[in-house]
Amino acid sequence: MGGYLARRLAASAVTAFVASIAVFLIVRAVPGDVVAQMLGQVSDPQAAASLRGFLGLDQPVWIQYGRWISAALSGDLGISWTGGRAVGPAVFDAFLVTLEIGLLTLALATIVGVPLGIISGIYEGRWPDNLIQIFNLLGLAAPVFWTGLMLLVAVSSFAGWSPPLIYTSPTESLWENLSILMLPILSLGLLQAAAYSQFVRQNVVTSLNQDYVRTARAKGVTIRILFFKHILKNILIPLITFMGLVLVQILGGVVIVETLFSIPGLGRLLISAIETRDYPMLQGALLVVVVTAMAVNLIIDLLYSVIDPRVRLS
């Protein structure tokens, strides 16, 4: 286990290094002159040249990268070009907000989606299954921005209420925090719950048709015991894999709901950094996204061995 972990971490470091180069180059491949954009269309050439020098943009790209990565390795992600604030703390604060949305959405999707999928699988072809399938189809078909907007408009028209617009952290006021995050989590969670439910249903149906299940049932094992002792264990591994995928998908959907509901998370930070061509902020935020996705994958691989002893991590 220890050796496995060390090798995985080393591999991750290499991936992160390659990713950092990719991130650095992709950010610079966005069309348009960043200095011209910062100064506006009627800028003075002298001011532009001086700003270019100040930002280090007059240096070759590999020198710019060297400066950035060596500072990043010592924990300094630089200073935002537009806001003048430190990138590290800004990205960290935004990441915490996004992480909360991500985990709560995952929890909601799991709590709703897994039981629905199990019921649907067990009652395959009968009315509970049909009903749940309708929910799945609607959930999967509706884009997050649409669900979010409809929830916002519906709650506003029927209840005359809309979420507060200044973000409050859960440590300041949990109630206020949840009233802000409720609609975004709901709009993201419905989609993912549908995806979960569909996935779990498929696995349950497949398991129910396997030989060992038929044998057990022939021996008189009740469906409840059969389900909790055998089937659930068998679908846990694909479920964990799926959970990782869902979490990464949620990170993508967060860009939309954070913009729609004015939440200062990583998604909104990314969008505004792209709009203003704020390279340091964009690099920092993308790096965090990449590292998070890698961490999620690593955690999932480690979970395999916990759930299924046959999976050896050596």
Partner: protein
Amino acid sequence: MALTLASLPARAATADLYGPKAADAVKGGTLTFGSLVEPPGLDPYHQAADGRIRFTVLMYQGLFYESETGEAMPLLASGYEVSPDGLVYTIKLREGVKFHTGQPMTAKDVAYSYNYLRDPKNGSPGAGDLTLISSIDAVDDGTVRITLSKPNGALPMTLGNKYGGVVPAGYFDAADAKQAFNTKSVGTGPYKLAEFKPNSHLALVKNDAYWEEGAPYLDRINILFIPNSASLIVALRNKRVDLALLTRPQDIQQVVKAPGLVMERWPSLNQKALDLGSELSPLGDPRVRQAIALSIDKDEIMRASVGGYGKVIGTMVPAMQDAWGAPLDQLANQKVDIEKAKKLLAEAGHSNLNLTLTTINGYDWMDPAAVTMKQQLARAGINLNIQRVDLGVWIKNFQSKQMGFTFNDWATQPDPHLLFYRHFHKAPEGADFRNWNNAEASALLDQGLGETDQAKRKTIYVDFQKILADSVPTVMLFSADHVSVRNENVMNYQQHPTGWFFGLARAYIKK
């Protein structure tokens, strides 16, 4: 030295700064402002974005204020005199002005601030406007002397609030001075910075030591950054937001009849233009440019693209038309005349012209405008192709003077020199983005710059506008109104034509 009193605007009374004061204003309370636009930072010296200027005018002040009618009115100055040769401005400072830090403002601070701003080494985008200044000195605590290398009739407006703002002398000595603007304000304005959280909100609190008697009225202004208009509209309807500016006609329609909300329209300095870069063949031929101008129905384009929330213009934006505009009936090529357009095109040998128009991603008005214009130009036998580009690409083309045939969307400060010179004067003095290279027009722009008498300046700029309309390097199509939507309890708010939020220093909330 003989001094002559410069002609001060007739309305240069303190009461008119930032809009009228209210006799029965209710003091106190918090106003929540919803903004679709977010300032990338609050540094008034280095941050060029319009989204920054809109809000920092409440915290930082220059020597002059750009009045809504296009005059430069003394703000931190109390008056000024110009030497007969137009080279020396002696500016008296307002008394009793204190910085947000509590220390009194003196001429030393003013000289320091403007000297920092104009030094190209400091990298301010505002430096280019001040290159004619050869020195700025503090004469005594209450007097500043600005010496120019050439006369500049637009100097007072240039010393306004777009860039800089007076800060305590030595402010930039601190290594983190630029970043510190985002955490603490050091200006002289009616509001102080309480908190700035990017991607979330900006909070301003009343400056209790503000120099203007009895102003401002609100204790606190919370500015919420709401990046999409659907949420902003919901917030306005639910009274989570008291005041906002909307730009898309479909958004305005959604709140126009909502109970408890009041929609108001204000003239702006915005102009939506069609630019004709002479580098793109055959736009170098004035007859082709005139033919295009004669084929265009500005009113139809305005209605198609901003749903009527705007005003068709000739060569001057509505907020400056009275003070600086040429009368519309004196301008050529303003009315549709397809026959004349066809004749001009035939003369120029371009009867079946193919042109590609550039529009910019994210500028909602340009798409319907482009489609409408395609139909209009077709009547004169011009086939229009439409291509969309990203803003960054567009700016790069614009600055490298390769703009071609494109829509443009811009605003300025309310002075004709600042509006025209850089755009239309020949290179190298001006940027001449459209490769117009018009000697006669450039001579008039030089004359206007050197003249300090406002009446004479107007005559010069009217002549310039006649050439502009006749030769057509650009077609100024229309100006979009500022449309504000407020809770009916918000009183005395006026939207300044620049789009900057000076009006928040005069607004109050009715109990």
